[in-house]
């Protein structure tokens, strides 16, 4: 805003205030009796014009604030687009689900083969040692073949880990742009599964170093 404009506004403000004081005195003298419609309109006009500088100031501040918010939202939209949430929900997570299902299938298949071989070995008659040895070797070969699942599942696990890393990276990026680093997370609300797990003490398998071992349990019994 230019100096001339500020001076003009200040002069206008002073005129309005003077006019208001003069009108106020006039009203006091008349004690609000015999007030014409013209007087009332005059008061309204004076009040409005006296508020103009204030309204202009508020208007300009709000405008600046809104402009700032708009720019921030635009920036965030641009940054959020980089996170590629659609790619995570439409591709990355379904892919991980497929990989995990394949791992479960492969381990189930391998376990079934290994167990079938072991059961077969237990059933082999030991009358003829040469036949027994051949039959056992045959079953052992099947067990070796079945163990190849480990290589494939290992590769699938690697793919899952890489995907999780990508998702982690993108979530970190989102947290950074939203300045969420130091913010305490809100209290987690338990979903139906989590509530069931809590009620029925379903913790799942413990990791190394967690939980109690068999000998500690034995002492309790």
């Amino acid at each position: 805003m230019g100096v001339r404009k500020i001076k003009h506004n200040e002069a206008q403000e002073e005129t309005s205030i003077d006019a208001l004081i003069s009108l106020s005195d006039k009203l006091k003298e008349n004690k609000a009796k015999n007030m014409s419609l013209t007087d009332v309109i005059g008061v309204a006009e004076l009040l409005t014009s006296s508020l103009q500088p204030l309204l202009r100031q508020i208007d300009s501040t709000i405008h600046k604030e809104l402009r700032g918010i708009l720019l921030r939202i635009e920036g965030l939209r641009h940054e959020i687009a980089k996170v590629r949430a659609d790619d995570i929900s439409e591709h990355k997570i379904p892919e991980m689900g497929k990989e995990l299902s394949a791992i479960v299938e492969a381990t189930e298949g391998a376990t079934d083969t290994i167990m079938t071989c072991a059961e077969a070995v237990l059933e082999i008659k030991t009358d003829n040692i040469k036949e027994y040895k051949m039959a056992v070797s045959d079953q052992m070969m099947h067990i070796f073949e079945a163990c190849s699942f480990q290589d494939l599942t290992g590769q699938r696990v690697t793919k899952i880990v890489q995907t999780v890393e990508i998702i982690e990276e993108r979530i970190n990026l989102l947290c950074e742009m939203l300045d969420m680093g130091d913010e305490a997370p809100p209290a987690e609300e338990l979903n139906a599964n989590q509530k069931r797990n809590k009620e029925l003490i379903l913790n799942g398998p413990a990791n190394d170093g967690e939980g109690v071992n068999q000998s500690a349990i034995d002492k309790l019994f």
Binding site: L122, L200, I201, L202, G204, A206, G211, I217, F221
Partner: protein, 127 residues
């Protein structure tokens, strides 16, 4: 007194492979009269129709867990004293304590071997 290897045993686990493993281990020990169920609800159905001398159950199953099954078994006069062994991956102290309070006779943490299973069965039957 030697264990009665013809006693009826019920294995409860939602993983067919685990049932197969326990069945085979029991077979190696000498037990052949073995039935199975896929969760607590199915186990209760079996228990309602046949009297079992031993129940070996997993903990984490749906819809009825082994922990709920244990409490149901202990609350019925017919099965209150049936030996119950929990075989589970749940190895937190709170799980073991809760199971003991509910009346479990022994507790095996997965993975386990034949020797552990036999040891616990022997312990339950006072061998």
């Amino acid at each position: 007194m030697a264990l009665d290897v013809s006693m009826p045993i019920l294995i409860v686990d939602d993983y067919a492979t685990m049932i197969r493993i326990i069945r085979n281990l029991l077979k190696q020990i000498g037990f052949n009269n073995v039935d199975d169920a896929a969760d607590g609800t199915q186990a209760l159905e079996r228990i309602g129709k046949k009297k079992y001398s031993l129940i070996i159950s997993d903990w984490n199953m749906e819809p009825m867990t082994g922990y709920e099954l244990l409490k149901q078994v202990r609350s019925s006069d017919d099965t209150a004293r049936t030996p119950f062994i929990m075989v589970t991956a749940e190895s937190k102290t709170e799980n073991v304590i809760a199971a003991k309070k509910a009346g479990v006779n022994n507790y095996i943490v997965k993975p386990f071997n034949a020797q552990t299973l036999k040891g616990k069965i022997d312990a339950v039957f006072g061998e």
